[in-house]
Every structure is written in C-alpha cells, then in structure tokens.
C-alpha cells in the first residue's frame, strides 16, 4: 500500500494552486480537493485529508474564504479591493 501523504504536503499543494490561480481563476474547495486527489492518487490522498489541509490553511490565515455568489478559497486580499 502506498504511503499516505501528510496534511502539510496536501496543504502546500493546495496553497500553491490557490497562489498560482490568484487573479486568474477562483477555486472552490471541491476544485482543490479533486485536484489533490488526482495529483497524489486516491490511495494516498483522501477527501478528508484535503478537508483537514484546507482547515489548517484557513486557521493559520494563509488562505481565506471569499464570496462572489458562491464561496471560494483565495489568498488573503487587501480589504475592499474587490468591492
């Protein structure tokens, strides 16, 4: 059985995706989860692991939730820039 990736590794992967997509595409948690499961392979990376990784990114403030008709995960913006 393949060794599971750590929460930190998934979090870094998600962070990189969010960072690369900044200003180009707004990503939803499900977009990120699907991409991570595909990247690491379902046997190494579960949806629950991705959920945990997203939570660590949010709790640390490296990423934030935003809302534009739906909820997205983005880098923390300067207040009011998008409003």
């Amino acid at each position: 059985m393949a060794e599971a990736v750590t929460v930190e590794e998934v979090a870094e992967g998600i962070y990189k995706m969010v960072k690369d997509a900044a200003g180009v595409k707004k990503l939803k948690p499900t977009d990120l989860t699907k991409a991570m499961v595909e990247h690491f392979g379902p046997e190494r990376c579960s949806k629950d692991l991705c959920k945990e990784a997203i939570r660590t990114l949010m709790d640390s403030g490296r990423c934030v939730y935003t809302y534009f008709g739906g909820s997205f995960i983005e880098l923390p913006p300067k207040e009011d820039t998008a409003a």
Binding site: K28, T30, K51, I54, M58, Y65, T66, S71, A82
Partner: protein
C-alpha cells in the same frame, strides 16, 4: 464616543415614523441615540429614499478566521459622505432552535451589540439566524470571541450548510409529529464543520416542520424539507366533535366539504373518517383542534429541492421518503443526507442548488446514485413523454456457437 449626536434630518423617513404599525424608522432612531453607525444609516437610507436606489456594495471577503460563513460583508458606496457607515457588515448568529430565549440571554446579546455594532438587529433573518446588522471589519474577531464565550456561534452563509431552523414543535404544539427542536439541534451540531466551512456547490438549507401545516415554509424554502406526518387513523374525540356543533361549527361545510380526499362523512351526530383515503392535509384537525389529532404512529415525510428563483427558477421540494421515523440519533436521515451531499458536492455545478442538480441529472438517476428505490409517491404522475433512456438491453443469444 457619541458626544455630538448629530442625528441627520430625514423628512422622507419621518413619514414612516408615523402610523399604527411598529416603525423600523423609530428603531433606527432609537439605535442612533447611541450609535454613530445607526446615525449614518439614517443618512444613507434617507438618501436612498430620495434617489430610489440602494447604496451598498458587495463585500465578499470579510469573515472571522477559519470560518467561511456567518459574516456578510457590506460597504457603503458613499464612504466619504457617511464615514461612520463605510463598513456595515452583518453577523449571522445561530439561533436557539424554536427561537426561545430568556431575557438574560437576549440582554447579553444586546450588550455585546452595544459594544461592537450598530445596535440594530433582525429577529430574525429569513433562514432563522439572529441577525446583528452592521459592524466594522476590526470588530469581527472580538465579536466572535465574545459570542463564543457567551455560548453562541455563527450561522451559515455562502456555499455551506445554512443554519437549520424549525417550527415551535413539541415545545408548544400538539400537532408536532416529531421533535423538530431536537432534530434541528442535532443536525446543527452534526454539521458544524459544514455550516462554518463552505465545501459545496452552493447553499443547502434544512427546515424541520412538525406537521403538514409547515409553519416554517420548509417545502418552499429548504433544500431538505422534513415535514411531520403520521400513519393510521386520525384520533377522534367524538364528544368534542359534537361540542363544536353547539358553537356553530358546520361540520359538513367547514370540515367534510373542505376535505381534499373526501374521506369524511357527517350524519349530524357522528363523524366517520375513511382513513385509508386520508392524505393527512391537516384541514379537519386545524378546524377541530380539541376533537381531532394526528394518529399515534408518527414520523416525517422527507422532501428535497426547494429554492427561490435564482438560477433556474423557483422550486418546491418533492418527496424523497414518504414516511420516516424521526428518532434520535436520526441515523437513517443522516445517512441519506450524507449520500446526497456527497453526490452533489462531487457532481454539482457551481451555484447549482440540489433541486436544480436533480432536474439536470434526472430524479431517476439521482435516486439510483443515492441508493433509493423509485416510488410512485415521488411523482405527481408518471412521465408523459416517451423519450425513455435504457442503459440495459437484451442481446440475441449466439445460438450457433453452442452447437
């Protein structure tokens, strides 16, 4: 703070301070006695009344750390003119099930809102939350921290599970067919993560109604509507029925003639009910509350998919499970909802409510994916069009090969 109470002149709004119905303008003015932000609101609102347009901007970014729901960001588009109300964010606080309060609990919320916000609220928002209306970004974390110390938490917003809500239920209603408050509290606690951290294509609302009268409008407003119902005969107190006739109730006209399934007969002395034809609409019970009661075997009908118009048009929920027992720990319901949420999270499009998702993929396919058998109770009638999909078909046996 608040030393110069410059309450703006509001001749238009003052017109709404008059008249017999309680006035929201009076409420804003009361709040304005202490809050510069509410004074600002009077100014902005008077401006809207003159110009006939709103002056609020999208503000999709603010929140408390770690949560993606519970705060609605709002900014004025006239911040220079109305600096006190440049920010006007809303906090959604998860209400106690059934909207029961003690004065002590409400006072702690008022005190908090006096320290950190405009002093204006909604009791309650459309989804059910306590709405704290209007604060600044830098107040959000202190508010959250104090709220949780007081034992309250934020409700949902954005693409998450929204704050579940319910009717008064068994707390004060003899018609409650299950414990709506108990279920609502249980679901709210079960889905804490999903309420606070948006992980779905769009919003998802639960509403728990104790009987088919549906006092929380669950069939119109909830993605998952849990509407109490019963099996078996309506319980009848014959003497109490007769008592109604003495008060002038016309049992034939007011009860039997209004019964949608015409399952009731009145011969001037006794009311008979052909219970196998009863659709459990509640009308007779509503009219004769001291005489009739729902049957003793109680549970709920589970329906799915209601929503307001955006995007594909308004929908009412439709039947998913005709009858389900509703007892803690509500395992069958949670398992069913779990499968639905997983499927919709995986395959739903952005901003597609589950009702729209079901329309797109087809109820038949949806049922198959969540492992429910199709039932005639789920449809008003079978299909009328002959464009039927079949995934399986017969093939000619290769007869020669065997010989």
């Amino acid at each position: 703070m608040g030393d110069e109470k410059k309450i703006p002149k509001t001749p238009k709004l003052d017109e709404l301070d008059k008249g017999p119905w309680p006035s929201f303008v009076r409420e804003i003015k009361r709040a304005a006695e202490k809050s510069p932000m509410s004074r600002g609101l009077l100014g902005v609102l008077e401006r809207s009344y003159n110009e006939k347009v709103g002056h609020w901007k999208h503000g999709g970014i603010v929140g408390v750390r770690g949560y993606g729901g519970g705060v609605i960001g709002r900014y004025s588009d006239l911040p220079e003119e109305f600096p006190d109300i440049a920010h006007f964010h809303t906090i959604r606080v998860n209400q106690p099930a059934g909207w029961f309060y003690t004065s002590a609990a409400l006072r702690t919320i008022c005190d908090l809102w006096e320290r950190h916000g405009s002093g204006l609220t909604n009791l309650h928002g459309s989804t059910g939350d306590i709405i704290l209306l209007g604060t600044r970004t830098e107040e959000l974390e202190p508010i959250f921290s104090e709220l949780t110390q007081m034992g309250f938490d934020l409700g949902g917003s954005g693409s998450d599970i929204r704050t579940p809500s319910c009717c008064v239920g068994p707390a004060r209603c003899e018609w409650a067919c299950y414990d709506t408050l108990g279920l609502t509290y249980d679901l709210t606690m079960h889905y804490q993560d999903e309420i606070h951290r948006p992980a779905f294509p769009y919003k998802f609302k639960f509403k728990a109604a104790g009987c088919p009268n549906d006092c929380v409008a669950s069939i119109a407003r909830a993605d998952l509507s849990i509407i109490g119902t019963w099996k078996g005969p309506i319980q009848v107190d014959a003497a109490a029925v007769t008592a109604y006739t003495k008060d002038g109730t016309d049992i034939q006209a007011d009860v039997c003639d209004r019964c949608p399934s015409k399952c009731m007969a009145w011969d001037g002395k006794a009311l008979t009910i052909a219970n196998e034809w009863c659709v459990r609409c509640m009308h007779c019970i509503n009219v004769l509350p001291t005489a009739l009661r729902p049957g003793p075997e109680r549970g709920a009908t589970i329906l799915v998919g209601a929503k307001a118009p955006i995007i594909q048009g308004a929908m009412l929920s439709s039947v998913l499970v005709p009858f389900m027992k509703m007892e803690p720990p509500y395992t069958a319901l949670k398992e069913l909802v779990g499968k639905m949420l997983e499927l919709w999270a995986e395959e739903g499009k952005s901003r597609e409510r589950i009702g729209e998702f079901i329309q797109r993929v087809g109820l038949g396919n949806f049922l198959e994916a969540i492992g429910l058998e199709p039932l005639p109770e789920m449809v008003a009638h079978p299909r009328e069009n002959p464009y039927v999909f079949y995934e399986e078909y017969l093939e000619e046996e290769p007869t020669e090969a065997k010989a």
